[in-house]
Structures are given as structure tokens and as C-alpha cells.
Subunit: 616 residues, 2 copies
């Protein structure tokens, strides 16, 4: 039994099995509700309609009933509390079917604050990043964090750790089929396999990939995925993958749905390449597909974007793209709940469901949020109850605070080639997240300054340093050149370097690169901008080198300042794109601690080749 004033977590609502009699008493009028929210309209995600003149009866943290407005006045005993909705719309809290908490660089407890402000009361989280750093221990630490959070957090077990192979990069995690199976068996909230992103290997029948699929399927757990390319859809679906969180256009969306793959329409902030929602939704609005197997999701969010581009914003985008308001909200609540077989608990205001409820205005903007029947957001501000819960966040174990294990002082800048050379450079350019392979002719020179100046190109150094303590007395480092990165001087660095999260440093000046790296080492993780021997902006990420342990509001502010410094430094791509430069599954060329990787050939190439070719 919970103590009289338990910490606010999902466990504050007792299991339905223990409260059916009380709920029946309340719904029948024999007992009074704990709370009545009256004077409302109710958005039914079951029927995709807004019901006028209703009130919501809540007991034991659950929905006892939706009644005609004013019905509570006839009860023998008044409800403990009556709240006036003033004609607003009551709707179920949103359910995000696919997110990575780590992308926001906050803990699960901290993430809850932003989620609840956005009207999101449940998330299906793939803790893929911390798994890449700390293996099962990282996933389990985040599960503990999740259990302590004032938010309902389910796990979709990270499925593709490492993203490639030890030949191509050094990761801190190696989640085998056996380890994944054990996670399913130990954690009831592990309801599905997380995005099986190695879709090419899956469709090719790779044994390790399919053993991991089998670990989920043999336990009756659904499998999440992520796929590009219509030519892969059939074999991916045949392999048992039943969702994806992106469909870049109408036609692939159509293929996916008919192949039995749920689509989570990812609504990214409009300035990013993550906003395929308007294109994909045309399978419904133009081709007449039913919306019943379509959801919305956020996937990744910078901490500061969390506040402006939450799942509520995504549902509004779906509305704007042609769905009705009711359908759009159902795509963000009941549909994800149904996809993960949790529709008996969440996703709608049906009897017996958790009282995870939002109060909306007619523009679908969230005014209030009740989590398990308790008011946590009122008039767009968190309540003292939530503030208290957020002040006492779960603390990660000591091991999570020492994961940036860099040995020695690995050189950050390569020796200049003695002869004219061709650099296999990485060209970073928006839009999109592709890093182009640029073969850049380097003239002979004594120093890098001379060579770069003579090349006539915008070039800077990039280095990836192995940080899992797995490469001996001097940590392994790989060098390369970034083309058109735009950095004017100084350096930028990050301990978030997808997916293995080795440290990536880019810079014009070796000294500033060294300072950037040392700053990250000292703090055991972070993202920073350095110029002229000074740290201009820094977000410390001491937990697994990925997460701040501060509140989301603080991290959002730090992130905002970092982005400002980042832009002032001239960087052509945002730091989330920079963090993807080591992600050796996206074309065309990437850099890991093992060197430069060509994708999709999956081969290493040297940074410099002899030759006098012209740059491509």
C-alpha cells in the first residue's frame, strides 16, 4: 500500500483489479467521487466525437464515469472536490508511442515536467542511447528513473545496440537477444521491442537481427521499427515489424499501412528534417485510407523544443493537415494505447481507465492536466504538487556518473600530409541528415593553416575519441575533415555522438579542441562551444555522458544558450545534427572512433589518400 502522501508516480493509482468495487459504487451513485470536473465537453476518442454538456467523475485515480452535466448535484453526499471546466474540452492525456528521453538530455523524472505541460501523460520510451553507453545497466537505471517519475513510462526495449559492429565503432553496449529477452522477463513495463532500425539487415535475414526479433515475438511482444524505402516494406513487415515512426511521403505511408505496419506520424519542429507528417497524412486525406492504424509521435526533442513542439503540437499539425480535431486527438491517445495493447488503461476517458485527463480550449491547446486524477498543470503552469515531485528526482547510481573514460591525451589533429593529397571529407549541409562524401584536393603545405588556406575550401578538423575505456592506455581516436561546417574559429564538442556516444570534437584550433574535450572529461559529459581559450557555452551531461541531472526548465535554458553560441560560432548544422555525424548507418560518410565509414557499403576509408585529383 502506498504511504499517506506517496511520491507522485504512476503507482499512485492502484491497479484496476483492486478498485472495481469502489468505481462501481461511484458510477452507480452509491458513493461520491473524489473529484468531479463539471461544465465540460468531453472528447471521446472511441467515437471521434465531442460530447456536449458533460462532467467527469473521478475516484481512486480513475474515471468512474462521464455523466450529463450537473448530475453530481443529486448525489446524497457531495464529491470531495468539484472543479469547473468552464465549457472547455476534457480529453484523455496524450500517449506518445515513440520517444527517446535521452534526446532531450534530461532524466525521465525531469522529462515528466515538459510532458505534463504538453498534456502528455504516457510515453513509450526507447532508451537506446543509454543502452549504447551502459548496456543493460543503463537501460535498467533509466527504468528505475522512469518508475520514480510523475509520468507513465513504458519501455520499448532497445533492439539495435550497437548500431553496427565492433569493426566499425566501439560501443559501450552490446544488447544480445539473450539480454533483451531477460529485460522482457524482468520488467513488466517492457511492452515491446524498440525500433529495429537496422532495416536492411532485417530484410536481408541477418541472424543476429532475427534472433532479437524472435526474443520479442516469442514472448508475444510487438516489434517497433524504422524504415526508409518502399522496396524494403514487404520484407520488413514479413519479419514481424508492426510499426514505424516516419513515412516520408503519401505512397510509402500507403504501402506501410496495407502491409500491416502502424504509422506513427512524426511531427518534428518545422525547421528540422523530422516533419514528414503533412506528406504522410495524405494517405488518409487523398487516398481514403482509414486513420485507425495511424498515430502521432515526437521521437526526439531538444530540451528547449520540448516546451513548444510537444505531442499536443503534433496533434494540432495533424488537425491542420486535414484530420478532424477528434481524430487527431485519438491519433495521439487511443490509437497509440491500442497499438501497444494498453487501451484498457489509457488513451480515452472510458470507465475504469486512469484519470489522465487534459482540459483543452477549442484550438486543442492544453490548459490543465490531471495525472491519475491529480491536478499537475493548471492554466499552463505546474502546480505545487508537481513542483514538489519534481524537486525530489531519482538519482542515478554512481557508475552512471563516470562513463567518459578517456585515457591519455589522444591527439585531436592529424599530422598534415607531406605531399598533395585527397581528403575523404565529410560535407555537412542542411536540409536532411545525410553527410555527403566530399573528396577534397589538398595542396602541399608545411602547416594545416597553409594547406587549408590554399585549398580554398571551408574545412575544419573533426576527431572522434573512444570514451568507453575499451582502447588501452591511450584512447583510440580517429581524424577527419569537415567541409562547409561553417565554424569560424574555436571548437565544438559533444559526448553525445550517436549511437555509440564516443566524444566528437570539431574545431579550427587544436588548443580550443583540447579545452572542449577536457571540459567534457572533467564534467563526465556535455556539449560545448569554445573560442579563444574560453568556454562560451556548456551543457553538462554527467549521467552516462548523455543526460543532465537538472530540471527540464534549467536544461532548456542551458540548451537555448548553447544554441545561441552554436549559431554565433557559425555552425551550419544544429548540434543535434552534429551529434549524428558518427552515426554510421546514414549515408554517405561518417566518422567513428575506428575511422571514416562509407554507408551503405559499410567499409572504412582513410582520411587522406595520396593524389592530386580535383575535389569532387
Amino acid at each position: 500500500m502506498p504511504s499517506p502522501t506517496p511520491r507522485l508516480t504512476r503507482f499512485c493509482v492502484p491497479p484496476l483489479a483492486e478498485t472495481t468495487r469502489r468505481l462501481a459504487d461511484v458510477a452507480s451513485g452509491r458513493a461520491s467521487p473524489d473529484l468531479v470536473v463539471t461544465g465540460a465537453r468531453v472528447l471521446s476518442t472511441y467515437t471521434d466525437r465531442i460530447l456536449p454538456e458533460r462532467e467527469l467523475w473521478i475516484a481512486a485515480g480513475r474515471v468512474a464515469a462521464v455523466k450529463p452535466n450537473g448530475t453530481h448535484k443529486a448525489l446524497a453526499h457531495a464529491p470531495s472536490e468539484v472543479y469547473d471546466a468552464n465549457g472547455g474540452i476534457l480529453a484523455p492525456g496524450l500517449v506518445d508511442p515513440h520517444i527517446h528521453v535521452e534526446s532531450s538530455m534530461v532524466t525521465a523524472c525531469a522529462y515528466a515536467e515538459a510532458a505534463l505541460l504538453n498534456g502528455t501523460t504516457t510515453i513509450f520510451c526507447d532508451s537506446h542511447e543509454i543502452g549504447n553507453v551502459m548496456d543493460v545497466a543503463g537501460v535498467e537505471a533509466m527504468l528505475e528513473d522512469a518508475r520514480a517519475a510523475p509520468l507513465s513510462i513504458f519501455l520499448t526495449v532497445p533492439s539495435t545496440v550497437p548500431a553496427t559492429s565492433p569493426e566499425l565503432e566501439t560501443a559501450g553496449g552490446d544488447l544480445t537477444a539473450e539480454k533483451i529477452g531477460a529485460l522482457f522477463d524482468r520488467w513488466p513495463e517492457a511492452v515491446a521491442l524498440g525500433e529495429k532500425m537496422d532495416f536492411v539487415q532485417v530484410t536481408e535475414g541477418d541472424p543476429r537481427s532475427h534472433a532479437i526479433l524472435a526474443a520479442a515475438l516469442s514472448r508475444g511482444r510487438p516489434v517497433s521499427g524504422h524504415i526508409y524505402g518502399r522496396e524494403f516494406v514487404a520484407a520488413y513487415a514479413a519479419s514481424g515489424v508492426t510499426d514505424t515512426h516516419e513515412a516520408i511521403d503519401r505512397d510509402i505511408a500507403d504501402d506501410l499501412l496495407d502491409a500491416g505496419v502502424w504509422i506513427f506520424l512524426r511531427g518534428g519542429p518545422p525547421t528540422t528534417p523530422w516533419h514528414s507528417l503533412p506528406a504522410a497524412i495524405r494517405t488518409i486525406t487523398e487516398l481514403g485510407a482509414s486513420h485507425k492504424r495511424v498515430c502521432v509521435c515526437t521521437d526526439d526533442r531538444d530540451a528547449d523544443d520540448l516546451m513548444h513542439f510537444g505531442l499536443d503540437w503534433v496533434t494540432r499539425q495533424a488537425w491542420k493537415a486535414g484530420m478532424t480535431r477528434e481524430q487527431a486527438w485519438a491519433m495521439g491517445s487511443l490509437h497509440p494505447a491500442t497499438r501497444f495493447h494498453q487501451d484498457g488503461e489509457i488513451g480515452a476517458l472510458g470507465g475504469g481507465r486512469r484519470a489522465d485527463v487534459v482540459l483543452l480550449n477549442d484550438a486543442l491547446e492544453v490548459r490543465n492536466t490531471w495525472y491519475g486524477g491529480r491536478l499537475v498543470v493548471e492554466d499552463r503552469k505546474i502546480t505545487p504538487l508537481l513542483d514538489e515531485a519534481l524537486s525530489d528526482r531519482w538519482v542515478y547510481p554512481k557508475a552512471a556518473y563516470s562513463t567518459v573514460k578517456i585515457a591519455g591525451d589522444p591527439p585531436l589533429v592529424p599530422k598534415p600530409p607531406r605531399t598533395p593529397a585527397i581528403a575523404n571529407a565529410l560535407r555537412t549541409a542542411l536540409p536532411g541528415i545525410v553527410v555527403e562524401h566530399a573528396r577534397v584536393a589538398l595542396p602541399r603545405g608545411e602547416t594545416w593553416e597553409e594547406i587549408v588556406a590554399a585549398s580554398g575550401e571551408d574545412l575544419c578538423f573533426v576527431a572522434v575519441i573512444e570514451r568507453h575505456g575499451l582502447s588501452g592506455p591511450q584512447s583510440r581516436v580517429a581524424h577527419g575533415l569537415l567541409k562547409d561546417f561553417g565554424l569560424k574559429s574555436g571548437a565544438v564538442a559533444s559526448s553525445v555522438g550517436h549511437d555509440s556516444h564516443n566524444v566528437i570534437v570539431a574545431g579550427k584550433s587544436e588548443a580550443d579542441m583540447r579545452l572542449a574535450l577536457d571540459t567534457i572529461r572533467e564534467a563526465q559529459g556535455g556539449v560545448c562551444v569554445v573560442e579563444g581559450g574560453a568556454v562560451k557555452a556548456f551543457v553538462a551531461l554527467p549521467v552516462a555522458g548523455l543526460l543532465s541531472d537538472k530540471r527540464v526548465t534549467e536544461v532548456a535554458e542551458e540548451t537555448r544558450r548553447l544554441k545561441e553560441a552554436w549559431a554565433q560560432a557559425g555552425c551550419a548544422i544544429p548540434y543535434m545534427g552534429f551529434n549524428l555525424i558518427p552515426l554510421s548507418v546514414i549515408p554517405e560518410i561518417r566518422i567513428t572512433d575506428k575511422g571514416l565509414v562509407l554507408v551503405p557499403q559499410m567499409t572504412l576509408v582513410p582520411a587522406f589518400e595520396e593524389g592530386r585529383e580535383a575535389a569532387e
Copy 2:
């Protein structure tokens, strides 16, 4: 591993976890399918559309892919078999979310034949009747039967056995919360709790009823229900019940959906009171509710009706009532699969799903059925493969063949009252299944013949004899009078007497009643019509007194002949209605082995009272 030519059951299709690599190979074109059904349109229950010019690739008993028509011709190796659909519509096999196999008086193995002819490849079966006779042993025997059947049969665990209490009737089963929990734990196909039909007790918070709900909910299993009356909907939903298989009109359908209760629209044969579908569907067609939480089901079928009024017929009724063809078919396939969280396996032709497929004409009539990729019905006839499987049916254990345990020779006709009396008679009349309470004035007389003649009423005797061997050296019997039953002479009797399944005998002649009872005793179960000392028609039901052990075609023919004799005998209600006369949960008056029960007061009244009142 299955043997080379395994008996055709659901286990012939290996688990998806074991076949993903093969399916990926086939879908990618690296390996050839076992079967291609070409020249087809495909009904996508995911998007509620019919896709033109397609072909279906099947491997390992599953859908490998739906491809553009003719694609298989480009494969390096020809598929093992190519079947021409001649432009017909391929659709998923139907999924019946709520049926009682026992209502058809056949075993699960035998039921499969009719189901497959109707294009039904999966059923969610509530073996409530055999549970009432044989307790857990009966439920488990039927589960073994189900595992041996060429059909996918899931169990919704009987939840309300006995229907009332030992004070009101004697049942052979007593399924406590503990026994129900153990069934869930032992049988993975036990996916939900079966219809919790004691909705009044549930809404009143009855402890036994809620303990049974908790046995399911605490294990994450959904709860099926059955409810009448808008006033009960809120408390029923609050108690955790999430489906019902009837909504008698548009408005209760509306209430149910918005309260979070799936509706299975029951389409009964049009001459029965079970056909509420057209009324309920108006919540969609008139009130604009989404169809996404609406299914169709059959619930109960006489064996002969199985052939004409299967789930395919019900989907056509839904189409006729205003749904599109595609929506109607989805309501009979994907939606039930989704409701029970089996949509990764069945309900659609998505990749990796079981190849349970039907070939339809444009009128949604079933021409062919493939079960797990094997052709079992072709051009509306069963194939030799299915015929062979049906010839070798599972045999129930010996104990199931000796359940009609009647001791002594209980008197079947009461002594005539010596003085003028009032009979608490049971008036049987269509439409509906209510048995009216008729207080009939009986004048004084020496013999029943005199008394009945003088009463001027159509009266006959009815007796219910306890048959579970639980009432001592002479089995308990209760007597009463049926009014307006229409029987001209002789007797009718049945060992199917819902829900406790004591033997019910009605008759004009005590000798014919005795012969009817003896015929049933001798065969250990059955339904018969007797006249003038001869058995006019008889369906032997030796398994639990409920089921024939013959094939469904034979039982259908026997049933047809029984119905003929039944009608000729003059009976005003069909035998299925007769079997409900002991069901002491439906108003107004019922007869059990304990006597006459008033519903919903749930009190016993004597058959005869002193008095000289006029009949009501």
C-alpha cells in the same frame, strides 16, 4: 517439430518467431513462396479499401507479402503452387469475437467445418455450458478438443458459473475466482474473461463477481460482458468490462462506445430475437460514431443455422445496414483481432500474419478458404484435406459421456390440487425471450384432464429434473405449468437447460414425458420430441449432455428434422427458446430443479397457491 503430414490444426503454422527469416527471404524475392494466389483484388482491413490487381505470396503458412499482380513471374524459381483467383477478392478469414460452440450442439472439431465454410478461421469461444456441467474438467476437455480442431480457437474463460446460486438451482460447475485464475495460468489461449453476464451483481459490487473480474484484470486479461439497460452501462464499464455482444438500440450502443465498451453487433438469424445489429449500427450511420471499436459476432447458432447464418452473413448484414463492404469485413476480422490483442497474427493480410484467407465474390460471399495457407474450402465445398481432418476428431474423455446422473424415477407431473388454485404458470411467447409470469385460475377437478379442460387455457406440464447426481437417491424435480406453449400432445425434452443444464421435460402426457426423459437418460443427453409412445425426433447429445460427437453436417440434418417434428408438435417457441426456460436470470419467471424463480426478485414461488382469483 510437426511430423511430415501433421493433423491439420492451428499448430501447423509455426510461430512467427521461427519463420521471420524465411518470410523475409520470400518477401524480398530471394526465395520462392509456397503458394501464390494471383489475379486478385485484396481487401485491406487496415485501410478499409479494396486494392486492385494484386497477388498474395504465402510461405510457411503465413502471408509473406501482397504484391502487384503477376510479380511472381519474375522470380528465379517458380512458386510451388500458383492459384488463380479469377479477379475475386482476397480477404482475411473472419474472426468471431464471441461464440458458444455448445449452442450448435457439436464439438469444437466439428464446429470447424461450418466455420471454415463460412470463411471464419478464428473464434473466441466461451465454453460456459460445458463449464456448468463439468466445471474446470469440462472447460479443459473442450480446450483439448479446440487444440485438435482445424480452426484457431481462443478461450474467453467462463465467468458466471453457476449463473445464480445453489439456493435457486443445482449446477454441475462452480467456477470460483481461484479456478478461473488457474485456467488463465495454465492455458495461453485463455486470452480474456468470458461474458460476465451477471451485470446487475457486477454493478452492485457483488464480492464474488468482482473477485472473478480481478482474476482477469490482475493478469492483464480483458473482460467480456453482456448487458441490458442504459442505467447500468457506467457502473459496468467502471468495473472493467470492455465489451458486450448486443446493443438493442442506437442509444445504448452510443452509451456503450463512449464508456469504453467494444460492441460486438450480434447478427442472429432474422426470425430470432438475437438480431439487434440493424438498430445498433445506427450509432455509426446516424450519430457519426467511428466504427473502429465495433465488431460483429454470432454468439449462438443452431447447427443447421450455422450453414446459413454464419459470421459472413452477419458482415453482409452490416454492409446492408450502411457500412461499406470493407468496413463491414474489418468489423468481422481486424477489429475483433485488435480487441483481443491478436492483431499481430490474424485479422488482416499484413506481412507475417497467418495465411487465413478467404476468396470472396463481390457480394462478400465466401468461395474459398485457406487455413494457415492450406486450401480447406474450394467453391463452397470442403476439400479432401479438410474432410480427412474432420474424420479424425478428438474424442472426449469417458467422464464426459456420463453426465446425466438421474437417480430413481422422479415424478414428472404434480398431483392435481384438491381445491380451486392459482397456478404460477410460465407463459412462453415470441418475440423475445422473456417468459411471462401468468397467474392462472385452476378450477377444482379430479384429474388434470378435467382441470385443464375446465380452465379454458392452453396448459401443459413442465418438469426440471436435477441431473448432476447431487440430490440423493431420487433426483430432485420441480413442477410447473406452461401456458400457451402450443404443444398439442406428447412431450418434448432436453438435457440442454440453460445454464445449469438440468433436464427439462414438457408434455401433455405423463407417459410420453417419461419416454422422453428415459430416451435422454439412455443416451446420456439429447433433445427429443415424443408422441403416442414413439420418439418422433431425437438429437443425441452424449458429450456432457450438450454435444453430439458427430460431424456438423449430420447434426445439422438431425437438427433440421428435430425442428420439423418440434413445429409439427405445435410448440410456439423454438427449442433454443425452450432450453432457456430454466435460465433464472431473464425475466419474469423461470423453472429450475429448485422450483419456480421470479426474476429479477430472485425468489422462489410455489407452483400452486390456494385461491379463486381470476387469471391475470
